[in-house]
């Protein structure tokens, strides 16, 4: 790893030689082993090496950036020159207080499993072959994806930050299908040996078998028990709409009101915490700017907390960065974004949440949720998929065809009927680290349409 940091330090030195007054070099790389499958056959499989290095420079208060996929001295020096050229033509960025400085933060060693880093295409294929045979016993077909490999993040700044972190990841998603009905399970872990592929296939197949012969019901208000995968999608959209300092500055966040304003049930606490210990999560303890991630209470016992920030947003807000600059890669967010979301668990056994429902629905997960309808009230819409079931007198009953919900999630969390003790790592769509969520019970959740 010192070789990588030396290379990045070389880029810092090159930028200084070219006239930069401050420099940040940020690097992201991974080797991704992947197998996608559908109709119980592997449809895509590959091994991909990919990497990106961004050089950001300041000339006084003028800032420019350039990224490159090259890692040799020539490519990095070229990126430094490009960044300098951009900075010199850029207007001053008032309030720029410099790139990250050493902060003395210490972190736990990265979760790295050598066997997961080295897992081959044959091993992935053999695992999947076993799952296909399991599904066939129930006349089901499997679809999904299995991904494994190491991921590296590193940052060096002119002020002395020099951080690197390499973790491993294994992720398996399984959908079991019988025509129009399906079941779903997903697992994520830093170590592939923790994934339990057979258990995930069993869960997906059992759900699919139970989902056969769905009935139609009318949209309306129902008590719902949301499985962790369903909860995670809502939490992610809360994050997209409201947990960035940028959204607070724009006034579009529900955190833009007075600090401590009541938002929902006092049992609800949402945090962004890279130091939270969970065996299925491998967090990166610093952001793409090299700032150590701080624990941020986003919703504190049902009341408005504080948003996450990066260096630029922190300068506007007048405080330190919380270490939530967006990761390198496609530009999917404006400004800072959460990285390690956790809906803190409650005191209820998941099975007890179902027992509390007289007439309601159990939701395995949602599809294509959109949380941009009214971000100040967290109004969202989305469809159910892969297992929607009636709950009658405290027990799961018949399968139901999919429904669309449209609801203020803050209002819904104000009607919290219970919060599970379980905490499951759900691979995230928009953040690098899985979201940790329990099962929850919401009263009078509003379904507004059907899929047919």
């Amino acid at each position: 790893m010192s070789g990588l940091l030396d290379s990045l330090a070389g880029a810092v030195a090159a930028a200084r030689r070219l006239g930069a007054s401050d420099v940040e070099v940020s690097h992201a790389a991974r080797t991704l082993g992947m197998a996608r499958f559908a109709n119980s056959t592997i449809t895509q499989s590959g091994v991909v090496d990919e990497r990106l290095t961004r050089v950001r420079v300041a000339v006084g208060e003028q800032i420019g950036a350039a990224t490159t996929s090259g890692l040799d001295a020539g490519a990095l020096e070229d990126a430094a020159a490009q960044a300098l050229e951009a900075a010199r033509m850029s207007p001053a960025s008032h309030g720029f207080a410099g790139f990250a400085r050493p902060d003395g933060a210490t972190t736990a060693p990265p979760a790295f499993a050598p066997a997961t880093a080295a897992l081959g295409a044959g091993e992935r294929a053999d695992v999947l072959g076993g799952l296909f045979r399991r599904a066939a016993r129930d006349h089901l077909l499997l679809a999904g994806s299995y991904q494994t490999g190491p991921r590296t993040r590193a940052v060096v700044t002119a002020a002395g930050v020099a951080r690197s972190h390499t973790t491993t990841e294994a992720q398996l998603s399984v959908i079991a299908l019988d025509g129009d009905v399906s079941g779903y399970a997903v697992g994520f872990a830093p170590d592939a040996s923790r994934l339990d592929p057979a258990g995930l296939a069993e869960e997906a197949c059992t759900t699919a078998v139970r989902a056969r012969g769905p009935i139609e019901i009318d949209p309306g208000a129902y008590d719902v028990v949301l499985a962790p995968a369903a909860v995670a999608e809502l939490v992610e959209w809360l994050a997209i709409g409201s947990f960035s300092a940028r959204a607070v500055l724009d006034g579009t966040s529900f955190l833009a009101g007075p600090p401590g304003a009541p938002l929902c049930d006092e049992r609800v606490s949402l945090v962004d915490d890279s130091s939270y210990h969970h065996a299925d999560v491998a967090s990166v303890p610093f952001d793409a700017e090299g700032t150590a991630r701080r624990r941020v209470l986003l919703v504190d016992q049902g009341r408005a907390g504080t948003p996450v920030s990066d260096l630029a947003a922190a300068a506007r807000l007048g405080g330190p960065s919380t270490g939530h600059a967006p990761p390198l890669g496609p530009e999917l967010s404006d400004g800072p974004m959460p990285s390690d979301l956790i809906l803190l668990p409650g005191a209820d056994a998941p099975a007890d949440l179902i027992k509390r429902v007289e007439r309601g629905l159990y939701v395995t997960r949602f599809h294509y949720v959109n949380g941009l309808l009214d971000t100040r009230r967290a109004v969202m819409t989305g469809m159910t998929r892969d297992g929607l079931f009636q709950i009658h007198d405290g027990a799961i009953g018949k399968a139901v065809t999919n429904l669309r919900f449209t609801e203020s999630i803050l209002d819904a969390l104000g009607r919290l009927g219970g919060l599970g003790t379980n905490l499951k790592a759900i691979p995230a769509n928009w953040t690098m680290t899985p979201t940790l969520c329990p099962t929850i019970l919401l009263r009078d959740f509003h379904f507004t349409g059907r899929s047919r």
């Binding site: 197998a35 056959t41 592997i42 350039a66 294929a125 991904q147 400004g335 294509y368 999919n402």
Partner: protein, 498 residues
């Protein structure tokens, strides 16, 4: 001005690709292989209020190799393009294919295609990489200044510009050898205003993405940012006091920025043949347009003609060849309201007996295998329709006109959708009347398109672009185009997200 782009050395690059293919060409069990060298050069600029929030340049370069061996695909990619790395990547792809065959059905074959040779370049009037940064910043700053006005009630005023040049060289074991230089880019503006508890947003052309096209810097002049900055500022301020869109079943007139997204979600995605065959079900979902419906299913009214066309000038889905070397072509998807075609690859076209691929295999970068993507999926204009949006409004007795997407959601079969827009206007007796906030509509895809009773004429047709269509696992972002003229839909459930 950016420095000169990386100078390609065609012979050296071709030799490198030949080296990759030589590793697998004669190996046991290999049916087909291809190799791509992809270089991307990009520039993005973002202004927010009086700050330059983003000024970044990007260069990436790498190789992707795909091998079909023992009836299974293998893919490998590397950012290192020295000979040793290229050889390693090709051998890895072959190993992966052979290993994957242990859990694959081995039934893969490819629709025949003539080997291709040639070069394609996006026609560009003004090379965006030769335009000075000063000029780009000045154009964006001028728009932001208009958006901000006197500053009162303005929470955020933004302008953004992006340019991208992708250079691709492709070789296959069937003799195809092609090179492409694809250029795209554009600009967009957005304003957020607030007053007490009310907040409103307007953007032009569509929250950044829409103003991007397959062309050069001439795109910026066509966007006329300053004129639109003034109009969206006025509309945003008016929206603060506007009533919610009334609920009811009414006629819906969609202006092209929103109709482009409607086409994307409810026609583009469900006609992807990999979805219809269940191959994208784990993430993106499947499709209600299953193969048994091909040629037999009424998708919309007889006015509705939808095409996939990679030869259409100016689109983000315009190119010479797709990423498996299939020449750009035009494929009808919906003809006079009947579902007649799919977006397809060589493999899926063969499986369905379609005879030929629709040429839709595209990869985000060197580091991803190509998958079926939209190209330019467009709603064809009606030569006999109203000539302009205002003529269409004048022809509407009672309804709502909506523009510019605010939120989108559609189910995993692409049937049940709900969209909300930034702005709407009630239509009464052929007149655009009061502005309404957060208009929303919902429906079921075939029922919605069956209600299409007017599409404007070719003069009102324009092509829009989306940069970030997500699909695949791991997700790949793709730039796609959608052409359309304004259109009207009857009996739509309309309401407000407010």
């Amino acid at each position: 001005m950016l420095s000169s782009p990386t100078v390609n050395r065609p012979d050296a690059e071709t030799d490198l690709l030949e080296t990759a293919l030589a590793q697998v060409r004669r190996a046991d069990g290999v049916r087909y292989a291809d190799a791509r060298l992809v270089g991307i050069e990009a520039e993005s600029i973002g202004l927010r209020m009086d700050e330059v929030e983003r000024l970044a340049r990007e260069r990436s370069h790498g190789l992707g190799v795909r091998v079909l061996a023992d009836g299974a695909w293998g893919f490998a990619a590397t950012p290192d393009t020295d000979e040793a790395s290229v050889v390693l990547a090709a051998r890895r792809a072959l190993e992966v294919a052979r290993a994957s065959a242990r859990a694959a059905d081995g039934k893969i074959d490819l629709a025949e295609e003539e080997p291709q040779r040639g070069r394609f370049e996006t026609p560009v009037e003004i090379d965006p990489f030769t335009v000075t940064l000063d000029r780009k910043l000045a154009e964006l700053a001028a728009a932001v200044a208009i958006l901000r006005g006197d500053g009162r009630r303005v929470a955020s005023a933004e302008a953004r510009m992006l340019w991208r040049r992708e250079t691709k060289r492709f070789l296959s074991t069937e003799g195809t050898s092609v090179e492409q230089v694809l250029v795209c880019g554009g600009a967009g503006i957005k304003i957020v205003v607030a007053d007490g508890g009310e907040i409103a947003r307007r953007s032009w052309p569509m929250d950044y993405d829409g103003g991007v096209s397959g062309a050069g810097y001439e795109t910026v002049a066509r966007l006329d940012l300053e004129t639109h900055a003034a109009s969206i500022r006025e509309e945003a301020l008016e929206l603060l006091a506007a009533p919610p869109c009334p609920q009811g079943v009414r006629a819906l007139v969609l202006d092209t920025p929103q109709l482009a997204l409607q086409i994307h979600e409810s026609c583009g995605h469900p006609t992807e043949l990999d979805r219809a065959l269940g191959e994208e079900i784990s993430l993106a979902g499947a499709s209600f347009l299953t193969p048994d419906k091909l040629g037999r299913f009424r998708y919309g009214s007889p006015l509705v003609n939808l095409t996939a066309d990679a030869t259409r000038p100016g689109g983000l889905g315009t190119f010479g060849w797709d990423d498996e070397g299939v020449a750009a072509r035009r494929t009808p998807l919906v003809s006079r309201g009947m579902f007649v075609g799919y977006l397809s690859s060589r493999e899926t076209a063969h499986r369905l007996g379609l005879g030929r691929s629709a040429g839709c295999m595209r990869a985000e970068s060197y580091a991803r295998p190509p998958i079926i993507r939209m190209i330019n999926v467009s709603l064809e204009p009606d030569p006999a329709g109203p000539r302009t949006l205002e003529e269409l409004v004048a022809d509407t007795d009672d309804g709502v006109l909506m523009t510019t997407n605010r939120s989108w959601s559609i189910d995993d079969l692409r049937l049940n959708f709900q969209f909300s827009c930034e702005a709407g206007w009630e239509i009464k007796r052929g007149k655009r009347t009061r502005l309404v906030k957060q208009p929303m509509y919902t429906g079921l895809t075939p029922r919605f398109w069956a209600g299409c009773d007017a599409i404007c004429a070719p003069d009102a047709f324009r092509i829009w672009g989306f940069l970030t269509c997500g699909k695949g696992d791991p997700m790949q972002l793709m730039a796609v185009g959608h052409g359309t003229a304004p259109a009207r839909f009857r009996n739509v459930e309309i309401g407000s997200a407010a």
